[in-house]
């Protein structure tokens, strides 16, 4: 019994040691992220996504979910606590995690720059506006000033959105022809933040020389507050690859 108990204590100590070691590793990784060679698994997010999507969509979805979770939790903190400290610390943790994901996995994104820009931008704006709101709330000003502050945030958000659109907006995207039926073709389009297109299979009017496996450039039609709609094929690239030419790296799949 005594020996068993000693063994138990020993294994307990070992576990604790391992736990501390991995904890320190995680902290170091988050503070000083390095580009990863392995694609991320994001266990929770991967359960939500359909199997046919690639790691690119997985990272994009993960970024969205993390950002939405941040918004909701920060809202909860703003409502439930009185001090700017809580939401400030929480925002810093979130921003560190976002930086970790972006640095570590952005090479698995098809076109990382707009993603990085968009999520960094909205995260910084929203965390600053939350912290700023808790600070001015502490000053006990008139309610009109709170709404003026809100108006200011709306202006900043719109300005950022305009800047983002001006820098990265495209009215076309790329896809791969999967199927050809008489005068229509089915194309697979990846998630594309620049064109604001949702990923998936779309049926489009055919062009003359369309064959499965070919990479095509597709015109999209922007719709306010909804994702853009692919309209028709603009150009056809003769590619033997099963992947779209917008994917710069083979090892993403």
């Amino acid at each position: 019994m005594l020996v068993n108990f000693g063994d138990f204590l020993y294994s307990l100590g070992e576990r604790v040691e391992r736990l501390i070691k991995s904890f320190v590793e995680v902290i170091l990784l988050i503070l000083k992220p390095e580009s990863s060679k392995k694609p991320p698994s994001f266990k929770l997010t991967s359960k939500l996504i359909q199997k046919r999507f690639t790691v690119h969509e997985l990272i994009s979805l993960h970024l969205q979910i993390v950002f939405l979770a941040y918004l909701l939790l920060a809202f909860g903190l703003v409502v439930l606590t009185r001090s700017p400290l809580f939401v400030g610390v929480f925002s810093v943790i979130y921003l560190l995690y976002l930086r970790y994901i972006l640095v570590r996995y952005s090479k698995f994104l098809l076109d990382p720059e707009p993603y990085r820009m968009f999520y960094s931008g909205v995260s910084i704006i929203s965390s600053l506006s939350f912290v700023g709101y808790t600070v001015i709330r502490d000053m006990k000003l008139s309610p009109y000033l709170y709404y003026s502050y809100l108006g200011l945030v709306v202006i900043v958000v719109i300005a950022f959105w305009m800047y983002f659109k001006r820098t990265f907006k495209r009215d076309y995207t790329f896809g791969v022809i999967k199927d050809v039926k008489d005068d229509i073709v089915q194309v697979f389009i990846h998630d594309d933040i620049s064109a604001n297109v949702k990923p998936g299979y779309y049926w489009l009017p055919s062009v003359g020389d369309a064959k499965p496996g070919m990479v095509v450039k597709i015109l999209v039609e922007d719709r306010p507050f909804r994702s853009a709609k692919p309209v028709r094929i603009l150009e056809v690239y003769f590619s033997q690859s099963s992947q779209s030419s917008t994917e710069p790296k083979k090892d993403t799949e």
Partner: protein, 374 residues
């Protein structure tokens, strides 16, 4: 429409930021309004508490002063006039702690400011509030209390509690300052209808008078003078008249006693000092109360020792073996103090008119009462 993953639009994400912030602001403003309302309720409760404390302090002082005056009168009649303490200080200690010369007075049991203060501390703590000063000995040093004559027939107590701090249970200061915030609390008690302590205390309880104003309470230019040829009301009225505290005629000066001097028996020099001090206080308080014309502070009554006019008085003198000089003065205060203290208290007087040969007054008083030396 086919489901295309769970991804949402970037435009929606952009809109979400101000929307969530709007929700937070709305919640903040709404809770701000509720908390402002509850602050308002707290604030009105605070002001209610402060004005209640002020009113209560006023009431306590009123009751306490009345009871203290009665207690001192009783005490002096039973134990003799005050020899060392002055009456103002005696009333003050009675009001504060209900003691006289260190001895607790039964009649003051529940009406002292000490009891009031202890009740206040308990009441506030039952409301979840704490008051500083929190114990009576410290409270005493924060309390300004003066008892003085106001005019011939009234006594006034003025009081103020300085530097009071009231906090709620979280330590937030709800009130800090003086009670009352400005000025003083005044409490006035009339001596009319009470026994004059001087006469029974001096005459061993054999003779007594109740303080009642005469037909002309304040003889003077405003209310008129008594007729020197008709002094019956003064001789038989056994009433009191108010005169200016200091009277002068020619080279002669007479200091008339205030109501508080009637509780004391001290050597003449001490009497004059105290009388002057009382008069100074009285005039200052009259000014503070907005009385611009100085009200008389001296209070006198006349003793006419003759079988025809006052056999009870003659009987009292006889039983106490008091023999009066032939040139005695009928002002009770001077007559009695001359008997017991002698010296400068013995102000000689002459017969006022032939109808009552025992009614003797000096020229100063004659001028004050009759506007003539006859």
């Amino acid at each position: 429409m086919r489901r295309r993953g769970f991804l949402i639009n970037t435009a929606v994400i952009i809109i979400l930021i101000p929307l969530i912030l709007l929700a937070a602001v709305y919640e903040g403003v709404a809770s701000g309004i509720t908390s402002a309302q509850s602050q308002n309720i707290l604030l009105s409760r605070d002001t209610f508490a402060i004005s209640t404390i002020k009113k209560d302090f006023q009431n306590a002082l009123d009751l306490s002063l009345k009871r203290a005056y009665l207690t001192l009168t009783d005490y002096v009649i039973e134990n003799g006039l005050l020899i060392s303490e002055n009456a103002s200080y005696a009333l003050k200690t009675l009001i504060l702690t209900g003691t006289l010369g260190g001895v607790p007075q039964k009649d003051m049991a529940n009406v002292t400011l000490k009891v009031w203060f202890d009740n206040l501390v308990n009441y506030l703590s039952s409301q979840g509030l704490r008051i500083y000063p929190s114990n009576f000995s410290v409270f005493e040093s924060h309390l300004q209390l003066t008892v003085a004559p106001l005019d011939s027939f009234h006594i006034v107590a003025i009081a103020k509690i300085t530097n009071v701090t009231i906090r709620d249970s979280s330590g937030r200061v709800m009130f800090s300052g003086d009670i009352p915030e400005s000025g003083m609390v005044y409490s006035i008690v009339s001596a009319t209808g009470f026994e004059d302590p001087l006469l029974p205390a001096s005459l061993n309880g054999l003779y007594t008078r109740v303080i009642q104003p005469c037909a002309i309470p304040y003889p003077g230019d405003t209310y008129g003078y008594y007729n020197i040829n008709n002094v019956t009301s003064l001789v038989f009225g056994w009433c009191y008249i108010g005169v200016n505290a200091t009277g002068q005629y020619g080279t002669q000066t007479v200091y008339y006693p205030t109501i508080l001097n009637r509780f004391e028996r001290v050597p003449y020099a001490t009497y004059v000092t105290r009388q002057q001090a009382y008069v100074t206080m009285a005039i200052r308080i009259q000014r503070e109360l907005g009385i611009n014309s100085t009200l008389p502070v001296g209070l006198i009554t006349f003793l006419v020792p003759s079988d025809a006019t006052d056999p009870a008085l003659v009987g009292a003198f006889t039983s106490l073996r008091i023999s009066l000089p032939s040139d005695y003065n009928s002002i009770a205060f001077y007559l009695l103090n001359c008997v017991y203290e002698g010296g400068s208290y013995c102000v000689p007087g002459e017969t006022v008119n032939s109808e009552y040969p025992a009614f003797h007054l000096d020229n100063v008083t004659k001028v004050l009462v009759f506007n003539t030396t006859g």
